[in-house]
């Protein structure tokens, strides 16, 4: 996944290398012009709201994540929920979990918290660690560069999931699992971002504006901060947007394998893992977490692609956005121009 993402992002990265830094408003305009990306963004915002408002939503429904409802199960038939579509009712909007009778809606919205917290946290860590490594390698002397680059290579080639399984197994049980998942994913899978940052720093280092800054007396730290970091925003953002869905999947995979969050905490991966034998007897139980996971990953991926395109000057010019002509269109008939223009 990391390697694929790496190649996917490099096309955009090359082009952004010499582009001037993009303003937030311009980025927004370019994003807005892509309906798919916009839809992805809306879904992400919704998911974040759901995650933040989980206690509120469950409260409106009148349920919680841990209460058992044995009376709603057909115990003799394998403790499967009574009623249609996994026991959907006015009290249980999305039905209940087989063998326990716990409310699925409450568990799903609380599960969103785990998925998003781990994914955002891990991505942030990956950006910070990878960025620091890449920057230091790009700016350092041959020895520093060699050392840091080889370290990065080790992390890129390491099978992160397997290593995560081993690492999680040795950490004492008392450590909060979501934080542990975030740390493990964040501190293992930063290799790709470090490589991109280093490549960008090396490319920019030789450019005139950086040389001018150095000649004007800036130290390496000031140069990095004032000249290089702004140029790194575009490729790092693009790559981070691609890392996010990867991290959602990684968290789900670890929980699916039974080493993610601990019971009775709900997470989508954990729910999918418990549900995987129920696909025939109670399809709703499998479909709900699977669908949510699918929608989330799709939304992030589409949004990431939108960010990449928006930050890619070549793609932007193909879109005719942020150029003179696009402005003319906007002035003409409002904001409904995006797709028609893209079609050309």
């Amino acid at each position: 996944m990391t390697v694929d993402a790496l190649t996917a992002v490099e096309a955009g990265v090359d082009a952004t290398a010499s582009a001037p830094a993009l303003g937030a408003r311009q980025l927004w305009r370019r994003l807005r012009a892509q309906r798919a990306a916009l839809a992805g963004g809306v879904v992400i915002v919704l998911l974040v709201l759901i995650a933040l408002g989980a206690p509120l939503l469950a409260g409106i429904e009148g349920q919680d994540t841990t209460s058992y409802h044995a009376d709603l199960l057909d115990s003799a038939a394998g403790a499967v929920p009574r009623g249609t579509f996994g026991g959907v009712s006015g009290e249980h909007w999305l039905g209940i979990e087989p063998t326990t009778g716990r409310d699925l809606f409450a568990r799903l919205v609380y599960g969103a918290r785990i998925s998003l917290f781990v994914a955002f946290g891990a991505t942030l860590l990956q950006v910070l660690v990878g960025g620091a490594f890449g920057l230091a390698a790009g700016l350092g002397n041959r020895f520093v560069d060699g050392l840091l680059s080889r370290t990065t290579d080790v992390f890129v080639t390491m099978p992160a999931l397997i290593f995560a399984i081993a690492l999680i197994a040795v950490v004492p049980g008392g450590f909060p699992r979501p934080v542990l998942l975030m740390l493990v994913l964040g501190l293992l899978a930063w290799g790709g971002i470090a490589k991109i940052v280093r490549a960008q720093v090396l490319a920019h280092k030789t450019l005139d504006y950086v040389a001018a800054s150095r000649l004007a007396g800036s130290g390496p730290w000031r140069t990095a901060r004032r000249e290089l970091l702004p140029a790194l925003v575009a490729p790092v953002m693009t790559y981070a947007a691609i890392l996010l869905p990867t991290n959602v999947v990684s968290e789900a995979s670890l929980s699916f394998l039974g080493i993610g969050v601990k019971p009775p905490t709900a997470s989508w991966g954990q729910m999918l893992s418990s549900a995987n034998t129920w696909y025939q007897a109670d399809p709703a139980y499998v479909l709900l977490p699977a669908l949510l996971l699918f929608v989330t990953v799709l939304a992030f991926t589409v949004f990431a692609e939108g960010v990449r395109v928006a930050l890619d000057p070549r793609a932007a010019s193909r879109l005719r956005i942020g150029t003179g002509r696009a402005r003319k269109d906007e002035a003409g008939d409002g904001s409904g121009d995006g797709e028609a223009v893209v079609e050309k």
Partner: protein, 570 residues
């Protein structure tokens, strides 16, 4: 007691193995009758056995079975065997090679057996008692490890015996005065010796044909079938008729099919899928080790024709919460009682797949007459628990504001000691003001932790099954104070060392009337139950599919599994 650890560990292992392998036959006696009415079972055809776990080390000295095993018992006859009948009658011990179940003397420390006439091996040679003695001696050889270790404790002078390869003199505590008589000298009274004599170490092995560790590849059969092929250490086993076996000397095995083909290493979901579809050869197939899961049960219950092909059986097993009273606050009996009241057996049973796959338990002994089942419920919590009563007890124990405790469990999904059961207990105790933190441990780490006295937690999930259906192997290892071992195989979780309990166990072991002994075991269970050292949760029920052509399904309470020696495919 130096060998106790091995024994206990093995018992635990076999019990778990049986639990996994166990549930085979169709709704017990009822289904049997339905099937039989289609036509009387006929000889011929091939019976296919689809299993998850391989029959490794198919050597009578190495197999660790309950009642001689299912497939092993087709090849190995033993001094005694389990009665091949449905239900409770199947929990009785009956003679096999011997003329009776044993003649005790000298306070049940000496047991004498005589062989039937006309017993022959697959090559036509006669079976002698010297060959039975030889197999028992082989089972002591370190290179043939794995068998039931009881004899090392029970036989006089056997504690350090190293087997016939290193010590050809053999065991002097087993005498064979003539080819048809064998006498065992025990170092303590053992009224249940006839039940032990069902194990495959009591099968004959001719010394001249012994090939040591290679014997499993082609053992010499004394039963109705002989091994014609054993691939990959029991993964694929093909058995054909033994022409020298005679039904006249064997009233237990029916041996209808001509060939038995055992394939192992199959995924459990695949086994259930193949048996329910029943396409081609799978119509003639059974499984001896794969239970229906909860989700599969939900499917079966909606399909009548499939439901008629489910065999229900009961193997004596209890899953329970164990307390270690050496750890606070479980040293306080009121805390233990509060937990016993707070437990909701309905949610626990549901967590394990519902009421068809488990029966709620309030007694430590399984609810079968052969174990001496005596109904009792010292802390009546009803089906769903009594949190109010639990709160009262907690207040009396000095915890009016509730308390926080840690429950240790196995992290294996779907396991009887797994997270599903732990979460159900956690949720039930929450209602009584007890906050339960879960300490899930990986399977092997979990069993090491709970079986080692120095690391044993105060509050954990565990389970127990017996090597034969009696109270002795059920209560002894768990509550006999002399069986507390410190080296990692301790099953006396409560570390109970009560002289009156120990004395009663000794007294019952002297009784050779098994029914009389069973009553005493039941009474002892009730007496110990009042101490709230365990909270019995449930007894698992075996539900296993069999193919459309399978007839004469017999499921005893000894194994809980359909008996392959009774099944016909025509």
């Amino acid at each position: 007691m130096p060998h106790l650890p091995v024994r206990s560990r093995r018992i635990g292992a076999i019990a778990v193995g049986l639990a996994l392998v166990g549930g085979a036959a169709a709704c017990g006696p009822k289904s049997d009758d339905d099937k039989a009415s289609d036509g009387t079972p006929q000889k011929g055809g091939t019976l296919y056995v689809l299993n998850n776990q391989a029959l490794e080390d198919f050597d009578p000295a190495r197999l660790y079975t309950s009642g001689g095993g299912n497939v092993p018992s087709l090849v190995y006859r033993t001094l005694t065997t389990r009665n091949r009948e449905d239900g409770a009658a199947g929990a009785k011990v009956v003679p096999d090679l011997a003329t009776n179940t044993g003649e005790p003397s000298q306070n049940a420390t000496v047991w004498t057996y005589h062989l039937k006439d006309g017993l022959k091996y697959e090559d036509g040679t006669a079976i002698t008692t010297a060959d039975i003695k030889y197999d028992i001696e082989r089972s002591f050889a370190p290179e043939l490890s794995g068998g039931a270790p009881y004899l090392r404790d029970w036989l006089v002078g056997a504690a350090d015996y190293q087997g016939p390869y290193k010590d050809p003199k053999g065991l002097s505590s087993i005498e064979t005065p003539d080819a048809k008589t064998i006498v065992f000298h025990l170092n303590k009274p053992e009224g249940e010796f006839p039940l032990l004599a069902t194990q495959t170490s009591f099968a004959p092995v001719p010394k001249a044909k012994d090939t040591g560790t290679k014997y499993a590849e082609h053992p010499v059969s004394s039963g109705p079938y002989k091994v014609v092929s054993n691939q990959n250490n029991g993964e694929h086993l093909v058995l054909e008729r033994n022409p020298y076996w005679s039904a006249a000397t064997d009233d237990q095995r029916k041996a209808y099919p001509d060939t038995i083909d055992v394939t192992s290493g199959l995924d459990q979901a695949v086994i259930n899928q193949r048996l329910s579809a029943g396409v081609g050869k799978d119509a003639d197939a059974v499984t001896t080790d794969t239970n229906l899961g909860p989700s599969e049960l939900a499917q079966v219950s909606g399909d009548k024709s499939l439901a008629s092909r489910v065999g229900t059986g009961y193997f004596g097993y209890t899953d329970y919460i164990a307390f270690n009273p050496k750890v606070a606050p479980f040293d306080n009996i009121k805390v233990r009682e509060a937990i016993a009241y707070a437990v909701n057996r309905t949610t626990v049973v549901n967590a394990q797949g519902g009421s068809s796959l488990n029966k709620p338990a309030t007694t430590f002994l399984p609810d079968q007459a052969s174990f001496g089942y005596t109904p009792y419920d010292p802390f009546p919590a009803g089906a769903t628990g009594d949190p109010a009563k639990a709160k009262e007890l907690l207040a009396a124990a000095g915890y009016p504001n509730g308390l926080t405790i840690t429950l240790t469990h196995d992290t294996t999904k779907g396991d009887e000691q797994g997270p599903e059961v732990a979460t159900a207990v956690q949720e039930a105790l929450k209602l009584a003001g007890i906050t339960v933190k879960l300490d899930g441990q990986e399977h092997n780490a979990f069993s090491d932790t709970i079986r080692t006295v120095s690391t044993e937690p105060g509050f954990f999930l565990t389970g127990w099954g017996a090597d034969w259906p009696s109270g002795g192997p059920f209560l002894g290892p768990i509550f006999d104070g002399r069986q507390i071992v410190t080296d990692g195989a301790n099953f006396n979780s409560a570390q109970l060392n009560d002289p009156s309990v120990n004395a009663e166990i000794d007294a019952i072991n002297k009784i050779t009337d098994l029914q009389e002994a069973a009553k005493r075991w039941g009474a002892l269970d009730k007496k110990i139950g009042a101490q709230a050292l365990t909270v019995p949760l449930y007894h698992p029920v075996y539900k296993r599919l069999f193919g459309t052509n399978i007839r004469n399904v017999v499921i005893s309470d000894w194994t809980g599994v359909l008996d392959v020696s009774q099944v016909a495919v025509k």
